[in-house]
């Protein structure tokens, strides 16, 4: 009995602590955001360095900034798998000491702990100087910029970009610098340095070429048709390979976006997207069929047509029923991709992926794109480095970010490790050694990866192709806009739950749309989807007006 009571009471306490805390944090950060709209870095508990920061603008004429004081920079990264960084840091710090008088202390966050831990570190006022941030982690770029967690880098009163990083800004593609411009605590500006990585979105059909050829088709046959025309090919392969073979290997959410040319609306509920923006599948820079409007994803005629077709494919046995289970779908998909048990799959593409996939899976893989590559808010804010307002040395942090993103030696050292220890250069390509297993940071999460030597198998001229591919990617008309669902938070919570119940099952065809789709729509209506859509459209309109000015 005591135990029962103790469990009950501890649960009660926990819930109280968490709920209490959620509100508290928001209020705190809002307050500070409002207070220092014009002064940076005074938020930090010890404000002794503030004079430093205000001194500097007066000295703008001076070409070399003052770096006589040695400082330590704490740098919080995401997605790392690092167990031994001593060798790399010894070299990096020796180099940084000489260049910037800086000692670097990276915090190697992993996929498992970054979300919870970085948010706490920010709200708890940890002395971390630079945080990884982006559009899809818990310390989301837009939300935390509004709360005053990031230093505005192009603040008119202390424009750190102009002072410390003009060459970096010249080097980044326009879509990136534009995508980083958002409305934050100190006005409309840049709050983080975007990483130059695979910044474009492109969804592709992932084709198992040997299997396709076996049944007398070519990749061109796929190119010449679309999702609604796959039926015949799938049917033939299904008949040939038997009952247990499921030719269509799909991720429900991605499939829907590929077929309907809808994109993720940044700031939408991360658990299950319910809003949609339709892009123009031919010219992504132009407006789509619905114009610059945000729509309820599930209400459109496109969606209805899509789920009906998918249901047809599902009933014909083209789609594995396991794909309808959110817990299993990913494992199942990875396994089937590796063993080649599919004909057509869905894949969000990055340049060179077909080569990488062919090598991993041991058979030829082809990628057939659905739209040209395009850049949206989510992808342009896909990996960024923000300077924390709790940092005591924001200037030095910015200098470091500039050096990191412009200096190939430093970038390669921190990303690949020490040459001769973690990797060797063979024919212009980096070949990793076994020691690299102790030091694997997330390459794309670090910054300007075009400074790195190409990896084995990519080809020595990889970056030329990379820059051509991503440089030519066009921005969508609403680039930079992110939905702020603060005012409709309750509705979003309820809607996410409803969507989680139906969306995946509908998108892979495991439930019957004639019966379930109307039911789903009704429940969305009951939970206030119209209010959310209206709010999103109001925000979008305000953003576009501000951008046009």
């Amino acid at each position: 009995m005591k135990k029962v009571i103790s469990i009950f009471l501890s649960l009660l306490m926990l819930t109280m602590i968490f709920t209490g805390c959620g509100k508290k944090i928001d209020n705190d950060s809002n307050d500070t955001g409002g207070d220092n709209s014009n002064v940076n870095a005074t938020d930090a508990p010890d404000a002794t360095d503030a004079p430093d920061a205000t001194d500097v603008p007066a000295d703008t004429a001076e070409p070399t900034p003052d770096i006589s004081k040695a400082v330590t920079l704490k740098w919080y990264l995401e997605g790392s798998n690092v167990t031994d960084d001593s060798e790399v840091l010894a070299k990096a710090n020796e180099y940084l000491k000489e260049k910037l008088n800086v000692t670097l202390e990276p915090i190697w966050g992993t996929w498992g702990d970054f979300d919870a831990n970085s948010v706490l570190a920010i709200n708890g006022g940890d002395d971390v100087d630079i945080y990884f941030t982006c559009s899809w982690t818990a310390n989301e770029y837009n939300a935390f910029a509004r709360n005053g967690a990031w230093v505005r880098l192009d603040d008119p009163e202390n424009n750190m970009i102009e002072k410390y990083a003009p060459d970096l800004w010249a080097l980044l593609p326009d879509v990136l610098t534009q995508g980083a411009m958002i409305e934050g605590s100190s006005g409309y500006g840049v709050y983080a340095v975007p990483g130059y990585k695979d910044i474009a979105q492109q969804n592709c059909w992932d084709i198992n070429v040997p299997l396709l050829t076996k049944y007398g088709y070519t990749v061109d046959d796929i190119k010449n048709t679309d999702y609604y025309g796959f039926g015949e090919i799938l049917q033939k392969v299904k008949e040939g390979e038997g009952e247990d073979f499921f030719p269509l290997l799909v991720e429900g959410a991605v499939l829907e976006r590929m077929v309907n040319n809808s994109i993720i609306v940044t700031g939408d509920s991360a658990a299950c997207n319910i809003l949609s923006y339709y892009i123009n599948p031919v010219d992504t820079a132009a407006e789509g069929a619905y114009g610059n409007k945000i729509l309820n994803k599930f209400e459109t005629p496109e969606y209805k047509k899509f789920v009906e077709k998918t249901r047809e494919y599902y009933l014909a046995g083209f789609i594995d029923p396991g794909m309808g289970s959110a817990n299993q779908a990913n494992d199942l998909r990875s396994a089937k991709q590796l063993s080649g048990e599919y004909l057509i799959g869905t894949q969000s593409y990055a340049l060179g992926y077909e080569k990488q996939a062919s090598k991993e899976r041991g058979f030829e893989v082809a990628m057939v794109p659905c739209t040209p590559a395009f850049v949206d808010t989510t992808s342009s804010q896909g990996a960024m480095m923000a300077v924390s307002t709790a940092s005591k040395n924001p200037d030095r942090a910015m200098m470091f970010l500039n050096l990191l993103n412009t200096d190939p030696y430093l970038m390669t050292l921190l990303d690949y490790g020490v040459e001769g220890v973690h990797y060797n250069i063979v024919n212009g390509e980096a070949v990793f050694t076994d020691t690299r297993a102790n030091y694997i940071p997330w390459t794309n999460g670090m910054g300007n990866i075009t400074l790195l030597p190409p990896q084995e198998g990519q080809g020595a001229d990889f970056w030329d192709g990379f820059k051509a591919y991503y440089g030519s990617a066009k921005e969508i008309p609403i680039l930079g806009w992110a939905f702020n669902f603060k005012s409709v938070e309750n509705e979003m919570g309820a809607l996410t739950n409803v969507a989680a119940e139906y969306a995946l099952s509908l998108s892979v065809g495991t439930i019957d749309p004639t019966e379930k789709l109307p039911e789903f729509l009704q429940r969305l209506k009951d939970n206030g989807i119209d209010k959310v859509v209206e709010e999103a459209n109001n925000q979008l309109k305000a953003f576009l007006d501000a951008k046009g000015e």
Binding site: K2, K3, S6, L9, S10, M13, M16, I17, F18, G20, C21, K24, I25, D28, G79, T83, I107, W108, T110, W111, G112, D113, D115, A116, N117, L120, N123, G124, G125, D126, D127, C134, S135, W136, D198, E251, A253, V254, A270, A271, Q328, N330, D331, L332, S334, A335, Q337, L338, Q347, S348, Y349, A350, Y353, Q356, A357, E360, T378, G382, W442, N444
Partner: protein, 312 residues
């Protein structure tokens, strides 16, 4: 005569005099057996899954009768090597040290609250009880622990935040009130025993059952804690076992959820992640030691309950 007959009948079928009727005994046994099964089956299931091959999980999902058995998960864990043993060591270390210190603090606090001649009793009772209902919230707690007390990346960070649980203090105080007569303390005082002597030589020995109860609660709490390491520890050197497990799980969840954001790199990372069987194998490794500790404490807890009821 009649009585003798009943007794001899009972003796014949081997039943004692105070036993309940046969049908109700069967019924009670069935109910209790079902309850036991409900408790133990999930654990057996976990053990079975940990020995299931990943191929079998892919084909038929989790099952009591997998199509193929394998030791892969345990082999993988053994290859994990240093980190695993390090985490084991950390978990055991913080559990032992944490339990000893927190029990000491708890009983000392509870004893003071129990003594009627302690003037500030009311205040300290409220002081303790209040924190049970109202916490400072996560961010302030984090700030105080990490930045003011320096509890970050050291063993103290794993032990100190959980040292005193107000609920245990109240359990212990109630235990003292029901099982320690005030006369005993007076007697000890008359015989010339000081406060410390009275407490450690007289009160503690007769309070063993209560102490064992909170020791068990504390050791389980320390062993199972993953949230505090999540908050205060970033160096893998200090990771306890539960946190290692939590990280593996949340890593898999995160990658699955954000696969389309991270891009094609993600599918490669997901493929490298430990399989379900491995996670279950880790669960087995986490649960076993604490399950072994339980019978040891249980002896005291049962006797504690008996003593309580006899004394009324």
């Amino acid at each position: 005569m009649d009585k003798n007959k009943v007794m001899s009948m009972n003796r014949r079928i081997g039943r004692r005099l105070n036993s309940i009727s046969l049908p109700s005994e069967i019924l009670i046994n069935i109910v209790l057996a079902l309850f036991c099964l409900m408790c133990i089956i999930p654990f057996i299931f976990v053990i079975i899954i940990s020995f299931t091959s990943s191929e079998s999980i892919r084909q038929i999902g989790f099952s009591f009768t997998p199509v193929q058995w394998s030791m892969d998960a345990y082999n993988f864990i053994l290859k994990l090597g240093d980190q695993l043993w390090r985490s084991y060591y950390n978990s055991i270390l913080i559990t032992v040290i944490g339990t000893v210190i927190s029990v000491l603090i708890t009983i000392l606090y509870a004893y003071a609250l129990f003594r009627k001649d302690f003037k500030l009793r009311g205040f300290f009772m409220f002081f303790c009880f209040f924190t049970m209902l109202f916490g400072g919230g996560l961010a302030p707690t984090y700030y105080v622990c990490k930045l003011m007390l320096g509890l970050s990346d050291n063993y103290a960070a794993l032990v100190v935040p959980m040292l005193l649980n107000p609920f245990n203090v109240i359990i212990m105080r109630t235990f003292f009130q029901t099982s320690v007569p005030t006369e005993l303390i007076e007697a000890s005082a008359i015989d010339g025993g000081g406060e410390y002597y009275t407490f450690f030589k007289i009160i503690v020995p007769i309070s063993k059952p209560g102490i064992a109860t909170i020791a068990l609660l504390n050791s389980i709490a320390y062993w199972n804690e993953w949230f505090i390491p999540l908050l205060y520890v970033r160096d893998a050197k200090f990771f306890p076992l539960q946190y290692l497990l939590y990280r593996m799980q949340s890593q898999a969840d995160f990658l699955a959820k954000n696969a389309s954001m991270i891009g094609p790199e993600a599918s490669k990372m997901i493929a490298n992640l430990p399989e379900h069987s491995l996670r279950m194998a880790l669960v087995v490794l986490v649960v076993l030691p604490i399950a072994c500790a339980y019978p040891f404490f249980q002896r005291y807890i049962i006797s504690g309950l008996t003593i309580g009821s006899v004394k009324g």
